[in-house]
Amino acid sequence: MSLDSARQAFLSEVAELLQSMEDALLTLEDQPGDPESLNEVFRAMHTIKGTGGVFGYDPVVDFTHRVETLMDDVRSGKTSLTKPLIATLFACRDHTARLVDAIADAPEGESGLDAELAQAGAELLERLGQAEPSSRSAEVLNTVADAEAPKHLPATTDVWTITLRFHRDAFRNGMDPLSFLRYLGSLGEMVHVETLFDVCDEHEDPFDPEGCYLCFGIAFRSDASKETIAGVFDFADEDCDIRILEPDSAHAKYLELLSSVPDERVGCIGELLVGVGALTQHELDRALALQAQESSSAEPASDVASPKRRLGEILVEQGSVKPGMVEQAAKTQEGARARRQEETRLIRVDALRLGHLIDLVGELVTSSAAIRVMADRAQMEDMTEVVDSVDYLVSEIRDNALQLRMVPIGDSLSRFRRVVRDASQALGKEIDLVITGGETELDKTVVEKMTDPLTHLIRNAVDHGIETPEVRAGTGKSLNGTIHINAFHDSGHIVIEIADDGAGLDAARIRAKAEERGLVSAEDSLTQEETLRLIFAPGLSTKAEATNLSGRGVGMDVVKRNIEALRGSVELESELGNGTKITIVLPLTLAIIDGFLVSAGTDQYVIPLSQVVECVEIDAAQTMKQHDQHYINLRGEVLPFIRLTELFESQPQGSDSRRRESLVVVRFGHHKMGLVVDRLLGELQTVIKPLGKVFERLRGVAGATILGTGDIALILDASELAAIANTTGDHGRKRQSRS
């Protein structure tokens, strides 16, 4: 077969493989987990990569390799196969076909990869999350490392000492030492070869003609690096003891290099030596294995662990390096260690362990609250003091434990650059994404749960919000649209704003649509804000047809639900023609908060302390007077308020006229409101327990907590309460919202 016909054969193989990949993808659309189809997709990419490599079709190899890597992750469960991912894989299949076609049409030695094709491939890989160049193979990696490592020895023409002691089974294993030596000869000059035939006693150990008794000592003159020379014996590895000692001139250079290794590159002694090229990775591995073996076989009876032999010692004994080298490496290491002491050390911890720790801290908080209650009841002075200090410690532990799980939100926001770029490209829009406040920290679990809602909101902004450049030009806006994501902390919460300067929401159309869907009746009068909020209602999509990017099943109602599940809230501002701003407010953590305990009627409630502005005593009569409006005049400021006993229909205690009530002023975002309660019970650490499904629709409540007494208190959600309070003082509406 000529090279040409081989190429033809390759093309038809590719066509077959891509066909079976397509079939498998179609199956996967219906049965995402089907292992056979997953394998099929993997195999197609894998085989095309392998064969393409032989032809030197690098673009094909690069591309298919990354798709293969992804499929490997999918097979192992590391990545889940979503619908969009399947769609992307279809595109990848097509792209592979295009790449191969381009190569087939290109003149000999050219890849046929033009800028457009390369760009298309890069985008696909970005969508796959495979944009980072990953290692194609060990070989490739090594080559790159060699090329990029100026630390490696400059050429020296000097004599290396190589000793090879082949094992008895070497011939039987298919090794022919002569082959290695012939190959070695191609890298330099064999100045001297000493062949040792190592049969001692014919009687004790009769000569076996199929056994190998050969040893070689070679003086070898070459400019090659130690790694290259060692590479000659790669395959002899298991059947031969190999020692390669550098020439004296190289030895001096290694020493010099060792003393000039920058601190951040100083690892352990072995890595250091490998790093400057004085030691091969294999030699190091062998020494480490020996070290481990020695220490494990050491006297287990003795209490004191028998001193582990130092690695350097083993390396010298193995003949891998000369003693002076180890000393210099040790010196370099010592110096770096001293300098590095103050630097922060990072440890990676399993998220599950952290989660468990935080759960335990939660239990600790509850228990310490119980102790506090008992101490108070016993009225023992000194015990109260102890409880105070325990409380303080517990709250410190709690804060520190929660802090462990805090991550900057920026890392997860930056992935949206890709989302925006891909999506805007697909729609022919010019969009700049501006991210500010990326350093703002919040709980990792919250970050993870926010990815989907944020993606949806951002796609919405790209898809429906920002207009095409033509439209924008017509309205006098700059051609480039801007989406601005901003994150910041506000009173114990994190606020994420997503603002676009696009078309804005058309209240009239939303209204019309809502009426059409029967969500509101024509008679209802709604404020602008209320009308806009209708887009969070299930089953309302203002865009006539769903596009590829958004509007596929997941609607704004799901976004809102996801956010509310995190005890957060979402608000919407929009001006027709001028853009939309969505504000998401989330608690920093899902687990434990500082709370403020109050009682109303027979029940107790916890208000997140971060939301409490102030507490005022109020004259019962004063509020009664204004009962109809549910507004109070607080130092000249008009404040809506809710009486908790009324909201939760709790039995008031005592007669109305004699009751003294307190007003707790809470703030949420830019809303401020009052909560009328019977008694203020003070601060406490609150472990948030989610409410079950039954209470899912209960508005104004974020969860429950167990008090030190064993009683249960509801945790109030100020944002929802604010919404309730703001819907004027209409009782009917309040009832309705609770149903």
Partner: protein, 122 residues
């Protein structure tokens, strides 16, 4: 006397490119499309090196190595496996069976020639 290398891979195009490269370097080449085909073609002639893929229909590379090691005329013939970095367990199994050399796919002909010539010079 030219050295003979057997190339086993289910991709005909891979075989032929490898074949062209090896012949160009001065080796004789025998091609086989899977392990079974390879066993059928090992009929007593001298083979200095076998280069075999791992994943193949009919008979995979690891089974082939085990079988070849039983043949008196080929039990000492070195075998180089074409593996991928994503299959460490396959590599271990092939090593256990008696394969001694490795080449990671995808490779280009020069890499193959380099690896082959460590075992058999033309």
């Amino acid at each position: 006397m030219a050295k003979t290398i057997m190339v086993i891979d289910d991709s005909a195009s891979l075989r032929s490119v490898v074949g062209i490269a090896l012949k160009g370097a001065g080796y004789d080449v025998i091609e086989a499309c899977d392990g079974r085909d390879a066993l059928n073609k090992l009929t007593g002639q001298k083979v200095h090196l076998i280069v075999s893929d791992v994943n193949m229909p009919n008979m995979d590379g690891i089974t082939f190595v085990k079988e070849a090691k039983k043949l008196p005329n080929y039990k000492f013939t070195p075998i180089m496996m074409l593996t991928t970095e994503s299959q460490p367990e396959k590599k271990a199994a092939a090593r256990e069976a008696g394969a001694k050399a490795w080449l990671v796919k995808p490779f280009q002909p020069p890499m193959l020639l380099d690896a082959v010539s460590k075992l058999v010079l033309p």
